[in-house]
Symmetry: C2
Subunit: 351 residues, 2 copies
């Protein structure tokens, strides 16, 4: 059994606008260690468990930028964004065509992991389960993040029991909850965050797609075999997440709880948790003078000063030709702003 | 009797930072009608009552910039800022040396007047008082602004009675009041705002300086006569306002109440009152998309977007190499920010 890693790099990261743009998705932002792009950290993560067998799925118009940061990887381009079911299927078909017995780790390209060694150990154990003589060799294993609060922005995984580091059966995947439900999950101690990290045989993934999403399964096999062109069939595929299409219906699904400093860098508020604050809780990146508390500044121009007084709990971003101001508590709403820009002919270029 | 106007252009306008800088004081900001500098509006205002007899007092390092916007005026440079008593004295001495019988209107360079014709009419009446056979020909007349609210940022003038447009005796000048005192002033109906607009004979001004500030009176006369160099004596003068040094002690002081759309453009909050807001009360100047209410944006770069969501009652300024965020209610505190910049070797250049 050979180990492969699949990195999903098809996201847009709208909520990190204006640092992320249509032409510069989140995985290229310099929020990894020492200012490296997040995708570089994801590739390093993948190489620990899969060596040089790393496959990246990304948008066709990101192929060039991806090649520049990912030498020695197999990069697959999607002519259209069709969510993770199609992307994982495409990678699994590609890998299985050459290596029918392969085991796969699926990793997002744009998350931050504080404890890479800790995650690598858990991935190694998950791979051992699906490779070995284990009764779980035909299962799908997910790394579930031990929650640190009643977040409403993540999907949750309900499991039998949560013992740190021990594998456990998944009861069900649940959607992003409301606040009260999230608090119940935390109090109950049987829910983990779904971080989109899956481990399984390529053959198992394709078998589940055959059962749940047969048109997609057929298409990705044909693309991998070279009998169909991605440009022709990919845009016709259903746009649905792997969670919805497969995981919610799958049998033999297991989870390994993880406390590895996971951060999805899903908004400016999330990103601030990666930065040390000053005495007043201000996390300042770039030239800034802030008289207030718990503010977040990202300023990409060393010659421009960001100054604020009398403001608390606010995000101020200067990135390229855009200045953004948003309260930290409303950082998720940046998506609304970007949508509004798209509806204005004069401002659409700033997306 | 000939009429002269004196424009005081020695202010710094720290509270309009970062649009105003040490090298670009407030009177040069394009906040007059159709984006003209405030000082250009002040010169036009002066010419209505004084024709080509306009004297401007400004800092030596602003002489060149002032000459560029004030052709045909007499411009006096101060080697050091010594507040308005010295500046008014210098102009009065200069004017009286050539024209001992002159009547003078003193105007600030950096205020905005919505109704210029209305102010011109009041200035004309005040000049007629000090020129004519009136019993007030030796008085000092001030244009007092009819208050529109209990502002704590202005000095007040207490008068006998306030009848719109009628001249009345001044009882006393009072300092910036606290909130409760300001509310009492408004309720009482006998207080006007001190806008720093004075009308008097040059000889009367010099006589009062002789009595109250003799060293200054001697020095400005010597500078005007060419027997002393401003560089030598001006820096030794006491730094005190004309209000403190003269008006608070003077006899025969009168006020004419004025409702002429006066705005001292003393902060970003004050400036916002000159701009029409959108449906949500946002006053946006420059390229901006704001989802919130009662915000103020000034953006000097048409190619840069200022975007905000979830914020209310906030000022966002992009001016040159500085971005400023401050709640409207705390706009006066911009001065603190500028002071803090001055204490930081790396950031002092942004003042």
């Amino acid at each position: 059994v050979t180990r492969h890693a699949v990195i999903l790099a098809g996201g847009s990261g709208t909520r990190l606008w204006p640092a992320s743009r249509r032409s510069l998705p989140k995985q290229f932002l310099p929020f990894g260690e020492k200012g490296t792009p997040l995708i570089a950290a994801a590739i390093a993560r993948a190489r620990i468990v899969a060596g040089d067998r790393v496959t990246i799925v990304t948008a066709d118009d990101q192929l060039e930028a991806t090649r520049a940061v990912a030498p020695g990887t197999d990069i697959l381009g999607e002519p259209a964004a069709r969510n993770t079911a199609a992307a994982i299927g495409l990678a699994a078909a590609r890998i299985a065509a050459a290596d029918p017995d392969a085991a796969i780790v699926v990793l997002p390209a744009d998350h931050h992991i504080g404890n890479e060694a800790g995650l690598a150990e858990l991935l190694d154990r998950a791979l051992a389960e699906v490779e070995g003589p284990s009764t779980r060799r035909d299962g799908i294993i997910t790394i579930g993040i031990a929650p640190t609060g009643p977040e409403t922005g993540y999907g949750y995984i309900e499991v039998d029991t949560v013992l740190p580091g021990s594998i456990t059966a998944v009861r069900r995947f649940v959607e992003k909850p409301d606040r009260i439900t999230a608090e119940r999950y935390i109090a109950g101690g049987r829910h983990l965050w779904n971080a989109g990290i899956f481990i399984a045989r390529a053959s198992r993934i394709l078998a589940d797609l055959d059962a749940q999403l047969p048109a997609t399964a057929t298409a990705v096999r044909a693309i991998a075999a070279g009998t169909s062109r991605a440009e022709d069939v990919y845009p016709t595929l259903r746009s649905i997440s792997f969670d919805h299409a497969v995981m919610e219906h799958a049998r033999d699904v297991f989870a390994i709880p993880a406390s590895v400093g996971w951060n999805d860098v899903g908004s400016w508020a999330a990103l601030s948790k990666l930065r040390p604050g000053d005495l007043h809780g201000n996390a300042l990146d770039g030239t800034a003078l802030v008289m207030g508390s718990n503010n977040i500044v990202f300023n990409d121009d060393p010659n421009t000063l960001v100054a604020a007084i009398g403001v608390d709990d606010v995000v101020i971003v200067k990135s390229g030709d855009v200045i953004l101001v948003v309260p930290t508590a409303e950082a998720q709403r940046v998506r609304e702003l970007v949508d509004a820009l798209g509806k204005d002919a004069k401002l659409a270029k700033y997306r």
